[in-house]
């Protein structure tokens, strides 16, 4: 019984001693160490985003029955929803149908013709619009027209299907207008 009480007192004494020693060590450490910290330095990245004709196709499926000599024009637009100026390029993707080599397509910005040729030839590599810098929030109204040359009447029952694509890239820090 006596032994147990003594052991308890001894334990308490040792624990106190260790705690005191630790406190002293911590105090001593704090005296030789000084630091200043600056938290919450935030770096937020910008965004590149475009609105291409509100997602509506420039020409609807089977909207028009094309006949030789016929020309159809449609307006569409591009809005820069990015947080900075961009360069953009327009091209056709997934072009399908024999009319891809027949219809003469013209894309123009007002009176300025940006492209004239077939749908097949307007690829990512030959894309247009590269020289046009679109500032933040700016809108570009463009026109696309489809002309069926009369001499190609043999393709009357064929079709053309394509995806209109627009790529955008930051104008800042990009003097060579690199998209990749």
């Amino acid at each position: 019984m006596v032994q147990t009480a003594t052991a308890k007192k001894l334990t308490a004494g040792i624990i106190t001693l260790v705690a005191l020693s630790l406190s002293l060590c911590i105090t001593t450490f704090a005296l030789v160490y000084s630091t200043v910290s600056l938290d919450s330095n935030l770096f937020t990245m910008g965004t590149i985003q475009l609105n291409l004709n509100d997602g509506v196709p420039v020409i609807e499926n089977r909207e028009i029955e094309f006949e030789p000599g016929m020309k159809v024009s449609r307006d569409f637009f591009i809005v820069n929803d990015s947080t900075d100026s961009v360069y953009y390029r327009i091209y056709f993707g997934h072009v399908d149908g024999l009319l891809a080599d027949v219809l003469e397509i013209t894309i123009s910005n007002g009176d300025q013709v940006l492209y004239r040729g077939t749908a097949r030839d307007l690829t990512r590599r030959s894309s247009i619009g590269l020289d046009d810098e679109l500032s933040e929030g700016a809108r570009r109204d463009l026109t696309i027209s489809f002309y069926y040359p009369p001499e190609k009447a043999a393709y009357e029952d064929e079709f053309l299907e394509f995806i209109m694509c627009v790529d955008a890239v930051q104008a800042k820090n990009n003097p060579n207008r690199l998209f990749e």
């Binding site: 020693s21 200043v36 600056l38 330095n41 937020t44």
Partner: protein, 291 residues
Amino acid sequence: MARYRSSRGNGVIVACVIVAILLIISICLLIFLPKVGISINLPGNLIGNPENSVITLKELDEGADARFNVSNMFPGDSATKTYTVNVNHAGVEALSFVAEMGAVSQLETEKMNIRIGINGSKEALYEGPVVSMPERVRAEKDADEDQVKFDVTVSLDTSAGNDYQNKQIELWFHWWVDDTDYNPDAVQNEAPKKCVPWCWSMCPWCWVIPLLLAIALFFTIIIAIAWIVFRGRRRREAMLTGRRLGPGDLGLAALFAAMGIGGSIAINKLLDGKPEKKKRDPSDKYHRRGK
């Protein structure tokens, strides 16, 4: 034989208590002597230290929002901010700096680069990805130089792709000084701008700290010996004297010593804290640690 051993045990305890009291008295004397004009160890060299810190950030002291925030970053963008670190003690020959990713960061990226330069020098202390930064970047300085300007440039690599769009990266900056950055020999021939525990000059701190360490060591050894001595004899002592000496008395001695140590630190702090203290900005939420 048993009685003799018991007396010896008593003697150790009494000696511990007496030594503790004597040490406390000597510490108090060391602290108060300069105040009553007996000693030349005047604590008057404790001047002009706004935070009692070895280093402070000038931008924080001025109450400005010192955070480095950049929005709308694109690949190739970079931004620079200069921070001025005030060094309030002579003898500090280097400052350490590190930047690390904060918890808010949405990317752990190699594309976020940081460049650290000092005092407008073209030579960088570090230049590369934040995530690859070493644990400390040391900026060497003259021992008596009281300001170091850190030019922190953060840039987003041109190869950063679409994954980085609209993401946020948080960085934490830390500056610090520890004993590896301090050279006491550099201030031997000049009065320290502020008394620091490691200057070993003529001021209470320089006596108190080694003294406290000596006390702690002394009591640790004494108590360890006493414990060993008492351990094998407590039964016989109980039979012969009816009173058990040991843990209680040892605890009391340790308590006296602790009170002396704590009291002397508190008193010294009070004495040191008197000179012109700047008010700290209540909006300052950046944590500081240490003295």
